[in-house]
């Protein structure tokens, strides 16, 4: 299968005061379309940094990342923002829903950047919330939902624009076991049933088990499995 994500010789380091802290060191790998990849590794291994680079919310110091044929390093900030809105669905560890918006309005947010009519937006939102099983919680505010439900709303927000890839950063990290299982089942379903390419960062071996491929990072490099 053709790769949908190509990471070529990517390095990334951060500066803390006058110290350079290397995070990723010359990473190269491909992710085929429809893949469900789990990135694992200890804290500071660079997995979240790699995820951020793939999602286009950070830039590498060296190397190139292409998603669906687009070299995202060549895009300026404005182009990159537009690219993210159509190609990336982001699922955060702490859900990051907007507290003053209802579940419906949170899911509708990314659609406001499209040319869809109000009616079309409604269809997309209802479909996304139905997929995550929250069609009866549309008018609830985040504070009226459980952690698991909040994360499902966040997943609905991530899939409502039908993005090319889904990236998830510790999606079960803030959830109890039952809620975490629900989220993992949902992600698995998105991959198998809706053929979504998913890149997930996790510490949780049970979460990683659900992925088709697991890669381990350590000190900015992939460990040989």
């Amino acid at each position: 299968m053709d790769p949908i994500i190509q990471v070529q010789a990517v390095s990334k380091s951060y500066w803390r005061d006058s110290f350079e802290i290397p995070v990723l060191n010359n990473i190269s790998f491909d992710i085929p379309a429809g893949e469900y990849l789990a990135l694992m590794g200890p804290s500071g291994s660079g997995k979240t940094t790699l995820l951020n680079l793939i999602a286009g919310i950070d830039r590498p110091n060296k190397g190139q990342i292409s998603v669906a044929g687009t070299n995202i390093g060549s895009l300026n900030e404005s182009q990159l923002a537009k690219w993210r809105s159509t190609h990336v669905g982001f699922i955060f560890q702490f859900y990051n829903l907007i507290p003053v918006l209802t579940a419906y309005e949170n899911v509708e947010l990314p659609l406001l950047l499209t040319s869809l009519s109000k009616k079309e937006r409604r269809q997309h939102v209802e479909t996304a919330l139905t997929v995550v099983g929250l069609q009866d919680r549309m008018q609830h505010y985040p504070k009226q939902l459980s952690g698991g439900q909040e994360q499902r709303v966040a997943i609905a927000r991530a899939i409502t624009t039908d993005p090319t890839i889904l990236v998830a950063d510790e999606p079960t990290g803030d959830l109890d076991k039952n809620s975490a299982d629900e989220i993992l089942t949902l992600l698995e379903r998105l991959n198998t049933e809706f053929h979504k390419t998913i890149v997930m960062v996790t510490h949780d071996p049970r979460a990683a088990e659900k992925a088709r491929v697991v890669r381990h990072l350590d000190k900015g490099e992939f460990k040989r499995s």
């Binding site: 919310i57 404005s78 993210r84 982001f90 955060f92 907007i98 507290p99 003053v100 309005e105 406001l112």
Partner: protein, 386 residues
């Protein structure tokens, strides 16, 4: 769901904080409105002065009189259209707290030179005919519930004795800048009494009012008037009505300057109040702004959200402030001594200044939060713990 709705919801996220901020702005706008209104009321006479009127007074001081005989000589100067004269009467009506301008004027010519005082012709005819009559402004009539035919008894101080006058005319102001609290009666009435009781003070006028045909020649005509009486026992000083009025205002110049300064300090206070609220809000939402950016919202969207919220708060506070300014100023006018400010209106420029200041404050208060929101990297914003 639209951006406006989000702006509205964001603004009301911390209701108490937003409400206190809005009330703070409203109070500041109200104080600004009051100070500006007092400043404009102080210079109302200057603003209402006509370009084609000159005032001739005694060169040494306004309190010294001029001979009545000057009138004919002034009238003959080329470019002089008409001349009238008046005396400041002073006196007391009811009690010393009831202040308004009382002037002995030439009944025949006074209203010709002051077209801003609108008086029905039949009332004017009666006024001219009856020596003990007076004309009062409509505000004065309203204040003391006076009507045509009513008597007004004055206790004289500059011109001692009891003075009984009958209201024969009530003038209306031509516009809001015209003082409708003045009282005019016959100079001849006062002069006759002076001839009997104090002949040395008879035949004197306080000042002359000269209407000129060409306002551009005001300087030349003023010089000509003053040259006429140079080295006489009562030298004159002639100036435009505006300059004459400014002379009065100048005595309170430092106070007015201070009030003007304070009114703009208030704008600075509003800026700090809104700025503080916006900085707190933006700091708390650092992670949310990062989420917006992650979802693909552009810098322009974030600017719209922050600027919109800042403008919403400042304009709402300003609107509320302006709304309460009207009754507040009416209340203030009711407690200051009657007649102290004959023209005490909220000028349109005050409303425009308050509204545009609020707009400017909303804009300025959002600059730092905008710069902060746009300057924070997404990855740093997502890590922010607010």
């Amino acid at each position: 769901m639209k951006v406006f709705k989000l702006v509205f919801k964001n603004a009301l996220r911390h209701k108490l904080r937003t409400i206190l901020t809005i009330i703070g702005i409203a109070i500041a706008v109200m104080a600004f409105g009051l100070l500006r209104t007092v400043v404009t009321a102080w210079s109302a006479g200057v603003e209402a002065s006509a370009a084609n009127r000159l005032i001739t007074r005694q060169a040494v001081s306004f309190i010294f009189p001029l001979p009545y005989s000057y009138r004919d000589q002034i009238t003959k100067i080329p470019g002089v259209d008409a001349v009238t004269y008046a005396n400041w009467f002073g006196g007391t009506y009811i009690d010393k707290n009831q202040f308004f301008a009382r002037m002995a004027v030439d009944a025949e010519t006074n209203f010709d030179l002051y077209p801003e005082f609108l008086i029905p012709s039949d009332q004017l005819t009666t006024f001219k005919r009856e020596r003990n009559s007076c004309v009062i402004g409509s505000d004065l009539a309203q204040r003391y519930k006076l009507k045509i035919g009513d008597e007004m008894q004055m206790d004289g101080d500059i011109y001692p004795g009891k003075w009984n006058l009958v209201v024969r005319g009530i003038y209306q102001p031509r516009d809001k800048s015209t003082d409708a609290t003045q009282m005019f009666f016959h100079w001849q009435y006062v002069d006759e009494r002076m001839r009997q009781d104090n002949p040395g003070r008879a035949g004197n006028v306080g000042w002359y009012v000269i209407r000129i045909s060409d306002p551009a020649k005001a300087g030349t005509i003023s010089d000509q008037v003053d040259a006429l009486f140079k080295n006489s026992r009562a030298e004159t000083k002639t100036e435009t009505e505006r300059a004459f009025q400014q002379g009065f205002v100048a005595s309170a110049g430092a106070i007015i300057t201070a009030m003007n300064f304070i009114s703009f300090v208030i704008i600075g206070i509003i800026l700090l109040v809104v700025g503080n609220t916006m900085i707190m809000s933006a700091r708390e939402r650092t992670r949310e702004y990062a989420v917006f950016k992650t979802l693909g919202f552009s810098a322009g969207h974030l600017v719209g959200l922050i600027l919109g919220e800042s403008l919403f708060i400042s304009l709402l506070g300003s609107a509320l402030g302006l709304l309460v300014t009207y009754p507040f100023i009416a209340g203030f006018a009711a407690v200051v001594p009657k007649g102290f400010f004959p023209v005490f209106n909220i000028e349109p420029i005050t409303v425009v200044l308050a509204a545009s200041s609020a707009l400017l404050v909303g804009l300025l208060a959002s600059l730092f939060p905008i710069q902060r929101a746009l300057g924070t990297k997404i990855v740093d914003g997502l890590r922010h713990i607010g």
